[in-house]
Symmetry: C2
Subunit: 346 residues, 2 copies
């Protein structure tokens, strides 16, 4: 059993402000009001894949306590703390070099902490197929999501074959499309949402990083002797911030020749925006969605109200608005303008 799960939990989720804040980002919040935070739901989802002592979390130093609190089943020394955020390539590199030192044959799934998957049985099956594939082959596998709508907010994976549930070669990765392009992707059938979930053997990803992100690989090679020793933290603090700030997509995915996709309809969402959150919450007859305690709506339609449970909230006369409140922050904003929330709250 060489399977390992790496949960990337360093983001700050600025598009879900004020629910998500730099102090407590969305992965640590029960955004759906179900009693589990997104990172807990993520860990739950991967529970069938391997034992908790094969789970790793990469997060910011300031969030380590939150991870320990929310995921007590994960060994403390497998909560890896980035001294600063350098995007996903250095994050994945650090986890990969470290896991290799402990388990040189490791077969790894990397996942964001803050996405939602509703079809969890299908998801476990998909991950299992991908892991079997990378156990035997020198391949990078991505998980594709069968699009349910012409979404312009996600990147797409162009698969060589329009097949679901099977490993197929990736033709190319596509940035967020405009609406016409997104519609053509849906009709075409070869395009899948990029869920940012990757499966690979540790030696494969280290080789690919060494080939396509040599600066980061060199930093990790310098860090390597300190890994799993008492020198790890000081060396990491010295070296990690020198890594190139780049996503794994740009650094490796768009360059590697060994990329496969396994696509499935998994009822997945990145929950990256209020709008995407709204689609996963139950709306009333007026199209209003409420997470919170004592929320009273009068003459409201198509609103998303998200507040702390102890709050009494009265909202009157709004159509198509977000009303979100969290501790010492409040947002009232048209859903149609939510792409600007990052600027509003900066």
């Amino acid at each position: 059993m060489n399977t390992h799960v790496v949960i990337m939990a360093g983001g700050i989720g600025s598009r879900l402000w004020p629910l998500s804040t730099p102090e407590v980002p969305k992965q640590f919040i029960d955004v759906l009001g179900v009693g589990r935070s997104l990172i807990q739901l993520t860990a739950d989802r991967f529970a069938p894949v391997c034992a908790p002592d094969h789970f790793w979390v990469v997060t910011g130093e300031r969030y380590a306590a939150l991870v320990r609190e929310q995921l007590p089943q994960i060994p403390e020394d497998q909560i890896l703390c980035e001294p600063e955020g350098r995007n996903t390539a250095p994050c994945i590199a650090y986890a990969s070099w470290k896991i290799r030192k402990k388990d040189p044959e490791a077969n790894i799934v990397v996942t964001p902490a803050d996405a939602l998957v509703l079809k969890t049985a299908e998801f476990a099956d998909t991950i299992s197929k991908a892991l079997s594939f990378t156990q035997e082959r020198d391949a990078i596998v991505t998980v594709g999501i069968t699009p349910s709508r012409p979404e312009t907010g996600y990147g797409y994976i162009h698969a060589a074959e329009a097949l679901q549930g099977q490993l197929v070669k990736v033709s190319e990765f596509k940035e967020k499309p405009d609406l016409d392009t997104a519609i053509s992707y849906m009709e075409d059938g070869h395009y899948f949402w990029n869920a940012g979930i990757f499966v690979w053997n540790v030696n494969t990803i280290i080789r690919e990083l060494s080939a396509y992100a040599p600066q980061i690989a060199a930093v990790m090679d310098e860090l390597e002797p300190a890994l799993l020793t008492e020198k790890e933290t000081p060396e990491l603090r010295r070296l990690f911030p020198t890594c190139e700030k780049i996503s794994i997509d740009y650094a490796v995915m768009e360059k590697s020749r060994y990329i496969y996709v396994i696509a499935e309809d998994l009822a997945w969402s990145d929950l990256g925006s209020w709008g995407s959150l709204q689609t996963h919450l139950k709306a009333d007859e007026e199209g209003n969605t409420v997470v919170g305690g004592d929320v009273r709506l009068f003459d409201c339609q198509n609103c998303l109200v998200h507040t702390a449970s102890e709050k009494t909230v009265v909202v009157e006369g709004l159509d198509g608005y977000i009303v979100a409140e969290s501790k010492d922050r409040l947002l009232v904003c048209r859903l149609s303008e939510e792409q600007h929330i990052k600027e509003f709250s900066a």
Copy 2:
């Protein structure tokens, strides 16, 4: 110096929810963001009239601590606690019977705790004239406010003469008018807003209460021997709740034959609603009014945003709304619908 000031501070200000709540009603809140609560501003306004040891406050038992904290200059035994709210006639009766026992020649001003007066010098002058008048005559004096707009939210005093700054007889009291009537009142010149401020000799008001509110007067006569003794509180708790629940306006003003008004342009507001509060706050070029700390408005017009100072608030795309937040309560409501706030929050 027989002058006494009675501040009535028992209201709960439900129309200013969630700023004003039954726990901390608006008279105890710095609603204008000036650093003084409304009851403090009221005490300040009457400071030229008499010394602090001639001030009295009538409030609910639950608010006594707030009064002591906010008005430490007032003697503790002059903070009178109603066991329950019975409207203004029993409130005024209790204060009157009690003051008479201490000062049988008392000349009294009664005022609400939660109104605003901007022309404080003119106000002190008006009160002084009224007190001189009632010191020498057996009269009830009301303070009239020269209307600055055809307000339909206030009661009016119909004066026998269209004079300002002088004591004139009252012809009658008028309930809140419709807009056409309010416009005709303004054109007529004999009509003034009823500020709910009264000036009288203690013997005058006790005689009038005995004549027109005999049930209440009888209760007070029964209470009288206990006043200023250790039996006062238990007797008050036993007797006060038996008083008829009625306003001084209905009980006495509309019946008495000794009523005068002194009218003046005092820049007065009852601050009884969000709209009236808005007129006293500075608006920006877009018509937005903000009380609070870090409030950021985007594409907003004619809004009133009132939040705790430590709160970061982003409001986008609203025209003509109240956004008000206070501790564990939040309101988003069209200003045009504010008359329903009481129902929304009930």
